[in-house]
């Protein structure tokens, strides 16, 4: 059910990209899709346990000695660290691509004086 809601957020972004005419709206649609995908990947690693799950950060009592042995309780309760690490890089890449898209939008606005992509296509022939 929660996966389906996340997929619905993705579809809203895709609808925005396909249907809207404004270029900034298209950028917004791409952002919504990006949020949905990141959220879905992190959701895959969550664990519903009897006690509360913990973040994959060994701190305090989880570290048994200085050599780095972690307690079995931590291993059995921690959520998946792998999607979190990959999503972490994906978010910063999203910011870089957002800046690039906004730069392209500003450039097109300076050239044609509008954000309307149908008018831009008509002018270009």
């Amino acid at each position: 059910m929660l996966y389906s809601l996340c997929f619905l957020l993705f579809m809203i972004g895709l609808y925005c990209v396909l249907v809207k005419k404004n270029m900034i709206k298209i950028v917004i649609g791409i952002l919504l899709m990006e949020y949905a995908v990141n959220l879905f990947l992190v959701m895959l690693g969550w664990r519903k346990l009897a006690e509360e799950a913990v973040a994959p950060i060994a701190a305090g009592g989880d570290l048994l000695d200085k050599a780095g042995t972690v307690s079995q309780l931590f291993v059995s309760r921690a959520v998946d660290p792998l999607p979190q690490a990959l999503v972490l890089t994906s978010i910063v890449i999203g910011l870089g691509s957002l800046a690039l898209m906004v730069a392209i939008c500003i450039r097109i606005y300076e050239k044609y004086g509008t954000f309307d992509i149908t008018k831009i296509r008509r002018l270009k022939g």
């Binding site: 000695d65 050599a67 972490l88 910063v92 870089g96 500003i106």
Partner: protein, 151 residues
């Protein structure tokens, strides 16, 4: 742009140091607590973008010139690769080998302390500098273009 009102300028001049310090903390403790190079780098860039928004483009450019920012960007990326090559040379012969941890810190046994994890804090620092310089450059370029087009 002349910047914002005197209230915003005063508050910004107070908290810019705190934001910068918080970014450094997030980067340095990235291997122990939540955070790391990405989040800390964005916070460092945010402290300069606060100056850019509050005081205007000229003041921000005095604090961190564009040439210095681009040099920092390139140097941090270069150091990142150089540290990875050090693992190739001193270590087991593959890229990104964590040679400081595997060769020098194995007997030291310092998991959970600030000086631990070998090359990971160094990677964090380089990534933080790189992300901060890149994002500051992008925002500066975007805002500068808007100013030129209005004149």
């Amino acid at each position: 742009m002349k910047g914002m009102t005197i209230i915003v300028k005063t508050i910004a001049s107070w908290i810019k140091v705190l934001v910068f310090l918080f970014g450094i903390y997030i980067i340095l403790f990235g291997h122990l607590t939540p955070g790391g190079g990405f989040a800390g780098g964005v916070i460092l860039a945010g402290s300069y973008i606060l100056l850019l928004l509050a005081f205007g483009k000229e003041y921000a450019e005095e604090n961190l010139p564009i040439s210095l920012a681009s040099k920092l960007d390139c140097i941090a990326a270069f150091l990142f690769i150089a540290l990875a090559l050090c693992g190739f040379i001193y270590g087991a012969g593959f890229f990104f080998y964590n040679f400081i941890q595997q060769k020098f810190l194995v007997e030291y046994e310092s998991a959970g302390e600030l000086v631990s994890a070998g090359a990971i804090p160094l990677y964090n620092i380089f990534i933080g500098i790189k992300v901060a310089a890149s994002l500051f450059l992008v925002t500066l370029v975007l805002s500068a273009f808007r100013l030129e087009s209005q004149e």
